[in-house]
Subunit: 197 residues, 2 copies
C-alpha cells in the first residue's frame, strides 16, 4: 500500500543553501526525515511519497514532493539529500501559485501551502497525525490509503492541529516518549512493514 | 535500565577527518546511529552507552565510548556528531593496547578490539544481535542488562557472528525487512521504551 508523509518545516529554507552548514533552517532534520522515509538496507522504498512544506526565508511556501517509485541517485546521508533539495530549490523560482513542476525523476516542486494540500487530500486519504494522546499505533486500524502529517522540532503549530481536527484527521501515538520526527517515521514504517501494508 | 549498544564499523576512520565529506569511511552512518541511540525530543537518553569500534585506516582499532549519563554539547546532526568524533580521534594518538582515556564528560577512547570488549561483556550482560532469523523483539524477554551489537552497511562479519554465537549471544529480529543500523536502533529504543526498560 502507498505510504504518504507530509512534513511541515516552519524554518526550512526556500532557496539554495550552503551544504556545509545544514543546521541553518534545520535542513539536517528534513534530510533525516527523508532518509527514514525511503531507505532500507540496500534499497529504496518504492511505495513512499514524501511531501515537504518549507515555510522559511526567503520565498515561502515551497512544497517539494519525492516519489519513491521513480527516485534515483539519492543516498541516505544528510549532505547528499540536502544537495538534491538545494538543486530543486534552485529550479523553483517564478512558480505560479499551486503550479507543480517536475524537476527530475521522482522529484517535484510547487508553490503550494500545506493548507491547500491537506484540504485536497482530506477526501482521498485517511489523515493521521502523531500525538501523545492518540491511539497506540500498534492497535490502530489503517482503513484505506493514508497520509501521516509531521511537524519539525517544534511540533505542529496549533492552527495546523485545528485544521487537521476539522478535516477529521485521527491522532496516533507511538508510545509514552516524544520522538524526533525522523525517528517517528522509522517507527511508523516498521509498524506498517509488520502488517504488510 | 541501562541500554548498551556496540557498532562495528569496518571502514570507520581512525584519525581526524574532513567534516565536509562524511561519506568517506561512512562516518555519516556512524553519526546517524549515535543520533538514533541518544536523541529524543529536546533531551538526551541518559541511560544509553554507545560503543563504536573503528577498523578503518590509518590506525585501527579505535574504540570510542559515549555515555549518555554525562554527555554534553552534542546535537543530533551528522556534522555536529562527526565533529565530536573527529576531535576524539585527534586525542587518541599513542594509546597503549586496551588503555581507555577520558576525553571529556561522557566521551572516552581506547585502543581496544571488539573481540576483547565483547569477551569481557559476555559475563556481565545479555548479548543480543539483530538477525532476520532471530526471535521477534516484540516477544523477546529481556532478562538482565543487555548489549546490542550492530554492524555497519555490510552487516556483521562472519567471524564476528561466530564469536557472538560462541559467547552465547541471542538473535533478535525486528520484522521481515532489513533496516539500516540507525533505524534498527530507533526500533529497539521504541520497544524498550514501551516496556519501560
Amino acid at each position: 500500500m502507498e505510504r504518504e508523509f507530509a512534513l511541515i518545516s516552519l524554518k526550512g529554507l526556500t532557496k539554495p543553501f550552503d551544504l556545509n552548514n545544514l543546521t541553518i533552517g534545520r535542513m539536517d532534520l528534513i534530510a533525516r526525515c527523508i532518509s527514514s522515509a525511503f531507505f532500507i538496507s540496500y534499497a529504496i522504498r518504492r511505495n513512499v511519497i514524501f511531501n515537504i512544506f518549507l515555510y522559511g526565508p526567503p520565498d515561502p511556501p515551497k512544497n517539494i514532493i519525492l516519489c519513491g517509485e521513480e527516485l534515483e541517485g539519492i543516498s541516505p546521508d544528510e549532505k547528499g539529500i540536502c544537495r538534491k533539495i538545494s538543486e530543486v530549490l534552485k529550479k523553483s523560482k517564478n512558480l505560479k501559485l499551486n503550479e507543480i513542476k517536475k524537476i527530475e525523476k521522482g522529484i517535484y516542486v510547487g508553490r503550494r501551502s500545506f493548507e491547500n494540500f491537506i484540504k485536497q487530500k482530506a477526501g482521498e486519504k485517511n489523515i493521521i497525525y502523531l500525538h501523545p494522546k492518540g491511539k497506540d499505533i500498534r492497535e490502530y486500524e489503517f482503513k484505506k490509503s493514508f497520509l501521516f502529517v509531521l511537524g519539525d522540532q517544534k511540533g505542529l503549530p496549533e492552527k495546523t492541529e485545528k485544521l487537521l481536527e476539522n478535516l477529521g484527521a485521527e491522532k496516533v501515538s507511538l508510545g509514552k516518549i516524544e520522538y524526533l520526527a525522523s525517528h517517528c517515521i522509522v517507527i511508523v514504517n516498521n509498524e506498517l512493514d509488520r502488517r504488510g501494508l
